[in-house]
C-alpha cells in the first residue's frame, strides 16, 4: 500500500522534472528562433482563430459586417475559436502566435505589436472609414434618461456633441460625428456619474479631462464596467450617463435616449511575421466560420 503511493508520487515528480527540463531547453530554442523567425513561417500550419466574447459590441459588429452569420443572423463563429473579453489579451495572443488572427478596436491598435491587414484593399484608417472605403466600424453610444434632471450631465452631453468635444474624439483616433457646433454651455456646478463600456471608457476619460478645463466647477465620476451594466445602471439611476459600444437593445431604448458620440473602426490583426497583408471580406468570413483552417488554403 505504501509502496503504491510512493510510486505514484515518484512518477508524478519525475514527470515534473522532465517537464521542467523540457521547458528549460525550449527557452533556449525560443531565443534562437526569434531572430530568424521569418524563415520559419510555415503556411501549412493551422490558423489560430481568436474571437471576442459572445454579445460584445466588437464581436457583434464584426460578425455582422463580415457575414459570419447564418440566414437568421445567428453568430456562426467556429467553436474552435479562442475567446477573450480583453483587448490586450487579444493583442498579446496574436503577437505571440505567428499563425493567429484576431480583431480589435482601431483606437487600441498598437502597430509595434501586431499588423492590421487591409480589407478588400482598404487600409484600416480613420480617413478610410469616413470616406466609406473601410466598412468595418461600430458606433459608440451614450444614453441617459430623457427626463434626467442633472444640469452637469446635460451640459457635459452638450460639450461632447460640440466642436471642442468632437476634436477630442478625432484626436484619439476615432471618427467624429459630422456637423456639430461650438460649445456654448453654462458650466453649471455639481457632479454626475458616467459609466459603462470599457471600450468607450478611454475616450470618455479624455472627454472628461477636456470638459474639466472649460467647466472646473463640475466633478464627473467615471465607472468602467461594460455596456450592459452601463445601460441598466442608467435605467436604475446609479449612473447619470451610460456608455455602450453597441446599439441599444429594444428594452433599453424604451427607457433611455441614446446618442452616437463617435464611430470606432475594427481592425483585423495578424502576427507581424505573417506575410499576409490583404484579405477579402469572404476570406475573413471563411476563416471565422471554420471553412478554412490553414494559412495556405486562404
Amino acid at each position: 500500500m505504501k509502496m503504491k503511493k510512493f510510486i505514484a508520487v515518484l512518477s508524478i515528480a519525475s514527470m515534473m522534472a522532465v517537464a521542467a527540463v523540457g521547458c528549460g531547453s525550449k527557452d533556449g530554442e525560443d531565443a534562437g528562433t526569434d531572430k530568424g523567425s521569418e524563415g520559419s513561417w510555415d503556411a501549412a500550419s493551422a490558423i489560430s482563430v481568436v474571437s471576442r466574447e459572445e454579445g460584445s459590441g466588437t464581436r457583434g459588429a464584426f460578425t455582422e459586417l463580415f457575414g459570419v452569420v447564418d440566414e437568421d443572423d445567428n453568430d456562426m463563429t467556429t467553436l474552435d475559436a479562442q475567446t477573450t473579453n480583453n483587448t490586450s489579451v487579444m493583442m498579446t495572443t496574436v503577437s505571440e502566435n505567428e499563425y493567429a488572427i484576431g480583431y480589435i478596436s482601431l483606437g487600441s491598435l498598437d502597430e509595434s505589436l501586431v499588423k492590421a491587414v487591409k480589407i478588400d484593399g482598404a487600409e484600416a484608417t480613420a480617413e478610410n472609414i469616413e470616406n466609406g472605403s473601410y466598412k468595418v466600424s461600430r458606433p459608440f453610444n451614450v444614453a441617459m434618461k430623457p427626463d434626467l434632471d442633472n444640469p452637469v450631465a446635460t451640459d457635459f452631453m452638450a460639450f461632447i456633441m460640440s466642436t471642442e468635444g468632437q476634436e477630442v474624439v478625432s484626436g484619439e483616433g476615432y471618427i467624429p460625428v459630422a456637423e456639430v457646433e461650438a460649445y456654448a454651455g453654462t458650466a453649471p456646478e455639481g457632479s454626475c456619474v458616467v459609466g459603462g463600456s470599457s471600450s468607450v471608457s478611454p475616450l470618455m476619460e479624455k472627454l472628461i479631462e477636456a470638459y474639466k478645463e472649460v467647466n472646473p466647477n463640475a466633478s464627473i465620476e467615471l465607472q468602467t464596467t461594460d455596456s450592459t451594466t452601463g445601460m441598466t445602471s442608467a435605467i436604475e439611476g446609479s449612473y447619470d450617463i451610460g456608455m455602450a459600444s453597441r446599439e441599444l437593445k429594444d428594452e433599453e431604448a424604451a427607457e433611455l435616449e441614446g446618442t452616437v458620440i463617435a464611430t470606432d473602426g475594427i481592425a483585423v490583426i495578424v502576427n507581424k511575421d505573417n506575410p499576409t497583408d490583404d484579405l477579402s471580406v469572404d476570406q475573413v468570413k471563411s476563416i471565422y466560420v471554420g471553412d478554412v483552417t490553414t494559412w495556405d488554403a486562404v
Binding site: A17, A20, T87, S198, E209
Partner: protein
C-alpha cells in the same frame, strides 16, 4: 540526541534506507521547483515593471496621462483595513466559540463548519455577483468601498476562522487547566492564556486574508466600482490596485503602467507581510 551528526553519518543512514533517500530527494526537488517558479515570476514582474516606474506614476491625482497609482493605493489600504475590521472579530469570535465553548458532536458546530467550508469554496466571481445583487442593489449602497469591504469580509471570514481554529486547537490543554486551577474564569482563560498563545496562527490567517484582498479583482469589479479616485467617504466608489491594474491592462493602452503597478503591488504585499510578522513577534514577546 546529539546535534553533531556529520554528513558521513547521514549518508550512512541513507545507504541503509534508499527509500528515505529518494523521498528526501523528492522533497528537495519540489522545494526547488516551487522556488524557481517563484523567482521566475517575481523576476518577470520586476523586469517588465521597474523600468516604467516614474515620478508621474505617484501624482496625487489620477489623469489619463500619468495613470497614477496613488488613489488606487490609498483605496487598497482603506479596503483592506475595512474588510479586516469587519472580518477579524467575527472570525476570531466564531473560532473561539467552536473550539472553547461548543461541545463535541454538537450539530450546530457541524452546520457552521460546513457553511465555512462552503464559503471558502465559493468562487470570487460568485461573491461579486452576490455583492452586486445584495449590497449594491438591494441595500442600495451603490458601488462603494463599503459594499466592496463587506463582500471581501465574507470572503476572508472562513480563512480567518479556519486558521484561528487550528491555532486555538494547537494550544495544549495543560495551559487551560493551569489557568482554571489558578482560579481564572473561562473568559479570562480564553483572552489571557489561550488567545495570546494562538496569535502567530491567527496572524498567518490575517496575512493570507490580506493577500486575497489585495489581489482580488473579480469580486470587487461588481461591488466597489472602478472610479480612479479616492472617494470622499466609504460610501463612494474607488478601485483598488489590482482592479486598477486590470483596468489599465484591459484595453491594451497602458501595459507599461500596468506592469509598474504590479511592482508597486508586490512591494505593498511585502510591506504588509513584514509589518505583520514584526507585530506577531512583539505580541508573542509581550
Amino acid at each position: 540526541m546529539s546535534n553533531k551528526t556529520t554528513i558521513g553519518d547521514k549518508l550512512r543512514t541513507y545507504l541503509k534506507h534508499p527509500g528515505s533517500f529518494l523521498v528526501m530527494l523528492l522533497v528537495m526537488l519540489a522545494a526547488i521547483i516551487t522556488f524557481v517558479v517563484l523567482i521566475f515570476l517575481i523576476a518577470y514582474i520586476l523586469i517588465n515593471g521597474v523600468p516604467h516606474i516614474k515620478p508621474s506614476l505617484f501624482a496625487l491625482e489620477y489623469t489619463s496621462e500619468n495613470a497614477s497609482v496613488v488613489p488606487a493605493l490609498v483605496n487598497t489600504i482603506i479596503m483592506t483595513f475595512l474588510s479586516l475590521l469587519i472580518a477579524v472579530p467575527f472570525g476570531i469570535f466564531s473560532a473561539i466559540f467552536l473550539v472553547e465553548y461548543a461541545g463535541r458532536g454538537n450539530k450546530f458546530v457541524e452546520v457552521i463548519r460546513l457553511t465555512t467550508e462552503t464559503l471558502s469554496g465559493i468562487p470570487s466571481i460568485v461573491y461579486g455577483l452576490f455583492g452586486m445583487l445584495f449590497f449594491v442593489n438591494t441595500l442600495d449602497w451603490g458601488f462603494s468601498l463599503l459594499a466592496g469591504a463587506f463582500t471581501m469580509a465574507i470572503m476572508i471570514l472562513p480563512l480567518i476562522m479556519r486558521t484561528t481554529e487550528e491555532a486555538l486547537k494547537a494550544v495544549p490543554d495543560s495551559y487551560r487547566e493551569g489557568s482554571f486551577g489558578l482560579g481564572a474564569g473561562k473568559l479570562r482563560t480564553v483572552f489571557r492564556i489561550v488567545l495570546p498563545s494562538a496569535i502567530p496562527g491567527v496572524l498567518a490567517g490575517v496575512i493570507l486574508a490580506i493577500g486575497r484582498i489585495v489581489g482580488e479583482t473579480a469580486a470587487l469589479m461588481y461591488t466597489s466600482g472602478t472610479v480612479a479616485q479616492i472617494p470622499d467617504s466609504i460610501m463612494g466608489s474607488g478601485r483598488t490596485l489590482a482592479l486598477h491594474m486590470y483596468n489599465l491592462s484591459s484595453e491594451g493602452l497602458y501595459m507599461d503602467q500596468a506592469y509598474a503597478t504590479a511592482v508597486i503591488l508586490l512591494i505593498l504585499v511585502v510591506g504588509i507581510n513584514t509589518l505583520s510578522s514584526v507585530i506577531a513577534r512583539k505580541l508573542t514577546k509581550a
